[in-house]
């Protein structure tokens, strides 16, 4: 039972538009656009949320309205010409078929983009101030530029209406053009667009008035904006309240989509997209304050990952619509499950930031725990029953094994799951021990809940043997035994180094000075360094890469760096660990600078290494000879989405998934399992 959950299931009417409930997904850029258009993959991704009961789904974060705001970065949508309209129509039909409403975000990025990605026009802004995040220096807009961009917004709004979208919002958050004009730190103009807040608001007013004039008063238009930029030279909370109330008072906007912070540099960006190190709904007070001032609907997104928080936000009147954007990436059927009384089946977002971190390096948004999201054309969110009931034995209850057991059980198979440890979760359980990474355990929690509910025969604390597996007379054996940490190639590492696993599991408890050497650039070393520093160790984190945590994304790396700096961890990039040897009761670690080949030594109490994992595969090779497929996965069949072509009448098929094949990540482990087992 979720308190006040009924508040979430009340319809909301904005002008003539009735949204069936109070749960929405805000516009974002999953990197699914193709040729500047929302095509099948993009549409199916949102249609799945519609199918899952969402009230309103907004797509196309930062969809561009003009040629000098390129859509190419992050495979975005361009609304700068009419060719997008048929795609909107098809998109709207797909979403409306399931009863949800569909809106888009329109923007001109101003200086928050790069000049060298699409049309090679210079970026624009109110003034020629460099943006730290995109590292571009814009051209100061002339009156003609202003007039043109205003017309571009109006034309884009018309395209939305013609495309059958239920409304649109303009982005004036995260440092886009409209809020570049608002912000005193960016807008240094002395004409009627600069100076007083009234003048700085003018550009946005002209944009919204032109859009209104184009699409009429009954078309729903909103604005996404910050409730407090939280920087000294930015917009204060009072400024934001003034802007919000003024725009609402003028009848320019039908809803205000409020967030906290801004995104002009790395840490600000990470804070505006709070990951699992933040409490839930950290900025709910901002939309709440805006709602007191205005008569239009107020929306809000920012780490509302659970329905209890969402229900509180709506029932207490802080917001009218609560956006659970990442929560829908984890589980697009969230509302349906709530309304069907299956809230326990909701796969809750853990806040890993895997989805969003991928898009900031040009990838596509994928969920760390739900491998079907963004792959709706090929991967099912609801697993269909198989025609033939099989006996499936899964070994290992880490993410790969749990997902394999879950999907196989959903298929209707009889599943036995062996796990040598008493608790499920595998490496997730180790990673979750590191400080703010604790919420990662939510991935395991949901999977264990599902396999338990599905009646999988769970044999925890039982190491599988070949005999025990074959005694089950399996049709399919899936080895998901995971990996064990490697100590790497440095001389003396095997004898003298310990691993991040040893620290996180508590097998060793280092004191004194520690050299932590990282070859992975992932969370593992950074979070271990934080843990050790908090325990009082003097920590140096050395890495082969150009910086610490190089593989970490935009919402996670700044948080690690912030913690590492605060804790006084010494960060040493461009180093290779070449040797460890004892000296007295201490250790000497030899490091070589990767750029200069200059060698340095450290005398420390502990050397800890992070080299990823190597597969635990003895069981796999023991079973391989007896299997009908010699343990081979038919990759072509997997890619085609077809069952594996082996005749199970002749014996068992053997597969391995996750790190038992090669050390990768949670998503890879879960995707391995899902795509194999959905066709078992």
């Amino acid at each position: 039972m979720i308190a006040n959950a009924d508040a979430l299931l009340k319809p909301l009417t904005i002008k003539g538009l009735t949204i069936r409930n109070r749960v929405m997904s805000t516009s974002h850029a999953p990197g699914y656009g193709q040729d500047g258009k929302p095509q099948e993959r993009y549409q199916l991704y949102h249609a799945e949320k519609a199918k899952g009961g969402i009230g309103l789904t907004m797509f196309g974060g930062s969809s561009s309205v003009a040629l000098d705001s390129p859509a190419a970065p992050w495979n975005q949508i361009s609304v700068a010409d009419d060719s997008v309209v048929p795609f909107f129509q098809q998109f709207a039909d797909r979403v409306h078929a399931h009863g949800a409403k569909l809106m888009i975000q329109l923007t001109h990025m101003g200086r928050r983009t790069k000049y060298d990605t699409e049309n090679w026009f210079p970026t624009l802004s109110a003034s020629a101030m460099r943006e730290p995040a995109s590292r571009t220096i814009p051209k100061e807009m002339e009156q003609e530029d202003i007039d043109r961009v205003v017309r571009d917004f109006a034309a884009a709004a018309r395209r939305c209406k013609e495309g059958g979208l239920d409304g649109c919002e303009v982005s004036a958050a995260h440092g886009h053009l409209i809020d570049q004009f608002w912000s005193p730190g960016v807008n240094r103009r002395t004409d009627k667009y600069g100076g007083s807040l009234e003048n700085r608001m003018r550009f946005g007013i002209e944009v919204l008035e032109a859009m209104r004039a184009e699409v009429g008063d009954d078309y729903v238009i909103g604005i996404r904006m910050s409730g407090d930029e939280m920087i000294a030279d930015g917009l204060s909370h009072e400024d934001c309240l003034t802007i919000a109330s003024e725009y609402a008072r003028r009848g320019l906007v039908d809803f205000l989509n409020i967030l906290g912070g801004q995104a002009r540099d790395h840490i600000a960006h990470a804070i505006s997209l709070p990951n699992m190190s933040f409490p839930v709904a950290p900025f709910l007070f901002l939309p709440s304050a805006v709602k007191r001032e205005v008569d239009v609907a107020v929306f809000h997104a920012q780490r509302v990952t659970d329905l209890a928080t969402a229900a509180r936000a709506v029932s207490e009147g802080h917001v009218d619509m609560v956006a659970m954007t990442r929560a829908h990436i984890a589980d697009p059927h969230l509302v349906k499950k709530l309304s069907e009384g299956r809230a326990d089946d909701i796969r809750q977002c853990v806040g890993a930031g895997y989805c969003i971190d991928r898009i900031y390096v040009g990838g596509d948004a994928l969920c760390i725990q739900n491998a079907a999201t963004g792959r709706e054309a090929t991967m099912p969110h609801v697993i269909a029953k198989a025609d033939v009931r099989r006996k499936v034995v899964v070994v290992g209850a880490g993410p790969a094994g749990l997902e394999a057991a879950r999907v196989a059980a959903e298929r209707g198979h009889s599943v036995v799951l062996f796990e040598k440890e008493k608790l499920a979760g595998g490496q997730i359980g180790i990673a979750a021990k590191a400080g703010w990474r604790e919420a990662l355990s939510g991935v395991t929690r949901w999977l264990v809940g599902q396999v338990t509910k599905l009646g999988v025969d769970l044999r925890f604390g039982t190491a599988a043997t070949e005999e025990a597996i074959l005694a089950e007379r399996p049709d399919v054996v899936i080895v998901a035994t995971g990996g064990l940490p490697s100590r790497g190639p440095a001389k003396g590492a095997a004898e003298h180094a310990v691993t991040t696993w040893d620290v996180l599991t508590g097998a060793v408890e280092p004191t004194g000075s520690v050299l932590l050497y990282d070859e992975m650039g992932q969370h593992n070393a950074a979070s271990t360094a934080e843990l050790l520093a908090k325990r009082g160790c003097l920590v140096e984190l050395a890495t082969h890469d150009r910086m610490v945590g190089e593989e970490l994304g935009a919402t996670n790396q700044p948080v690690h760096l912030r913690e590492l700096y605060k804790l006084g961890v010494i960060m040493t990039p461009n180093m290779e660990l070449i040797e460890i040897y004892p000296e007295g009761n201490r250790l000497v670690a030899a490091l070589r600078n990767t750029m200069t080949d200059a060698e340095e030594e450290r005398v420390v109490d502990r050397v800890i290494v992070e080299h990823g994992t190597l597969p635990v595969d003895a069981l796999f090779f023991g079973l391989k000879g007896g299997s009908v497929n010699q343990g081979v996965l038919d990759q072509a069949a997997i890619v085609r989405g077809e069952p594996q072509p082996y005749d199970l009448a002749k014996g068992y098929a053997l597969y391995r998934v996750g790190d038992a094949v090669a050390g990768r990540n949670i998503h890879a482990a879960i995707y391995d399992a899902l795509r194999l087992c959905k066709d078992l």
Partner: protein, 627 residues
């Protein structure tokens, strides 16, 4: 000595008559009430032999015992009286027949004794009731011995004197007990069956369970003292034999709340009778302290009165006591009339109930929510709102529509109606609460206001019949709104869905797997006698249906009726927990429900319990499985 026995009978009859008349003075304290004496008298044999025995027969031992002892007693006494006629009194064969009748009585008396000695079942009252078998045995064996002696021609032996004396001891005792002892039930019971305040309950149709409308202009509203009750209600209380069947059936009693219907009836008797014998049955569980006044005809309810308010507010109005009472006593009528006085005259309702009543008065809805929000449960699905056009079915949504959980049931129902292409509509923002809860809480004024408003709304629209999934709404609309001249054909959704299935408009597939047990809602089963349609429907779904020990009209309440959830009187356990434990005994994986209140109460039970699903949800799953 031949005429000693007939003489004894005449004396007994005279004594019983005197005692009855003395008691009648007490009945006459009550308010006047119209009674169809002639019809009642004519109907007495049927009411006794059919209606009463239908209930009595549920306890096979008691039924056999009563048939033997009461039949024997009546026959022996009548035959003994007829021996006053010389030809009969002189016939030894006749005396043999009399002896046989006394013999039967003696056998019955042994059965009565065997039930109470050596250990009396908890539900039976002790005290004065424990003397009953003694008196019966004395009368029966005395009479048997006397009649046998006369049959053998012994007309004047000391043995005969002793036998007649024994019979006199027992017989006069029994006759004396007609005023305030166990035998009161026989005389008062017979009179009660004749002058029953709800004669329609004997007609064999649907149960007569609609509360009687209160005249809001009356100088005193509801019942404050026993004298405010109609005289035949006071009479009905005297019919009580304190068998305790009501307490065994009462859900509040079972949950350790301070209510025992038997005790309540006896308290109402005692509240008016200065010299009533001390009550010797089960107490109110966790009885609240009251300072019982000694003077009669004092106010009944209060901490300084005989009955604590918590007792009054513990009742769920489930009518289980009424259903089980072999003497046809109407406990719920008494409770509601007492509540009416508390609510309307004193404003003394439990705190949470007061808030609910405030909402009903101000917002015409229990939770004070907007009436327009009643259709929010549809969550975007189209829901036709009634307009000018006549529709086949007006779907009455009820209070459940506001509940998150029950929204699932209503969505399933709406989906089924659409699948079956039923021409239906809802009232939308025009639907108000039916007033059921206000009425059960004694707030007749709010009930009547809401009822009149709903009747006026319904009069503005054209529909063939009303379908509702809420048995409380069904009962109000079908039975209680008649008092406002409104007659509708009201169908419960289970009956309507069965109709659709039987017409082939819905094709259920087999659900398979789990077994299901059906929990009868009180307001559908006991209040409206509908127990078959839900079962027939369930039997179409391919589920293995099992029954709980208490089912049908004898089902146990979920604890949600009569305002009990808002009165919230603490006990030792929660009624729904008890009910779900009963469901668990069947091993069923699904508890099928057919009422929003039952859904909320039973699903609110924590721990590992069966799934609680409305029949509409199960039918929808089955129809979808069949596609």
């Amino acid at each position: 000595m031949t005429y000693a026995l007939p003489a004894l009978v005449f004396v007994m009859v005279a004594l019983a008559t005197v005692q009855t008349l003395r008691r009648a003075a007490w009945w006459r304290l009550g308010a006047a009430a119209p009674v169809a004496w002639g019809a009642g008298l004519l109907a007495l044999p049927k009411r006794y032999l059919v209606d009463v025995h239908h209930v009595v027969a549920r306890d096979a031992y008691a039924s056999r015992m009563h048939a033997v002892v009461a039949g024997g007693l009546l026959a022996a006494t009548l035959l003994a009286a007829l021996a006053a006629l010389p030809p009969l009194g002189g016939s030894r064969i006749y005396w043999a027949a009399v002896a046989l009748a006394f013999g039967v009585t003696a056998a019955g008396a042994v059965l009565v004794g065997a039930r109470r000695y050596p250990k009396r079942p908890k539900r039976l009252s002790g005290g004065g009731f424990q003397i009953l078998p003694v008196l019966l045995l004395a009368y029966a064996f005395g009479g048997l011995a006397a009649a046998l002696l006369l049959a053998f021609g012994v007309a004047s032996a000391p043995a005969l004197v002793a036998a007649v004396a024994l019979a006199a001891g027992g017989g006069l005792g029994l006759a004396y007990e007609v005023r305030s002892g166990p035998m009161r039930h026989a005389v008062a019971g017979a009179l009660h069956l004749i002058a029953h305040p709800r004669p329609r309950r004997f007609d064999g149709g649907a149960p007569d369970a609609a509360l009687v409308a209160l005249d809001l202009d009356a100088p005193r509203l509801g019942v404050e003292t026993p004298a405010d009750l109609a005289w035949n209600r006071l009479l009905s209380f005297d019919a009580c034999i304190q068998c305790g069947r009501c307490e065994s059936a009462c859900p509040a009693f079972a949950a350790g709340q301070p209510l025992n219907p038997k005790r309540l009836i006896q308290d109402l008797v005692a509240a008016a009778t200065a010299d009533e014998r001390a009550y010797a049955g089960s107490p109110y569980p966790n009885a609240r302290d009251v300072a019982a006044p000694t003077e009669p005809l004092f106010r009944v309810i209060g901490e300084g009165a005989r009955i604590h308010p918590d007792t009054l507010w513990s009742c769920t109005t489930c009518r289980a006591c009424v259903e089980e009472c072999p003497m046809m006593i109407e406990h719920v009528d008494a409770i509601v009339s007492l509540r009416r006085h508390q609510t309307l005259e004193l404003g003394a309702v439990p705190a949470k109930a007061a808030a609910t009543l405030d909402n009903l008065r101000a917002a015409e809805e229990l939770g004070g929510r907007p009436l327009a929000a009643r259709v929010d449960f549809a969550a975007g699905a189209p829901l036709p709102v009634i307009g000018e056009r006549e529709v086949d079915v007006l779907l009455w949504l009820g209070e459940g529509a506001y509940d998150l959980r029950y929204g699932r049931t209503l969505r399933a129902l709406v989906k089924l109606l659409n699948m079956a292409k039923v021409d239906f509509a809802v009232l939308g923002a025009e639907e108000r609460d039916t007033g059921d809860l206000a009425r059960r809480l004694g707030d007749e004024a709010t009930y009547q206001t809401l009822a009149r408003a709903n009747v006026a709304t319904l009069a503005r629209h054209r529909f063939k019949r009303i379908v509702t999934s809420d048995p409380h709404a069904l009962h109000a609309l079908r039975n209680e709104y008649r008092a406002f001249g409104a007659t509708y054909e009201v169908v419960h959704h289970t009956a309507f869905l069965l109709e659709l299935v039987e017409q082939g408009r819905l094709a259920p597939g087999a659900l398979g797997g789990a077994s299901v047990t059906y929990h009868d809602p009180c307001y559908l089963g006991r209040y409206n006698g509908e127990t078959e349609a839900p079962r027939k429907l369930l039997d179409r779904l391919g589920l293995d249906r099992v029954e709980m020990a208490r089912h049908g009209r004898r089902s146990m309440c979920c604890g949600g009726g009569g305002g009990a959830p808002v009165s919230d009187i603490p006990g030792d356990a929660r009624i729904p927990d008890l009910r779900m434990a009963q469901a668990a005994e069947t091993g069923a994986g699904i508890v099928a429900v057919a009422c929003p209140t039952c859904t909320a109460m039973l699903e609110g039970v924590t721990g590992r319990t069966a799934e609680v699903k409305d029949i509409a949800e199960l039918l929808l799953a089955s129809v979808e499985a069949g596609r």
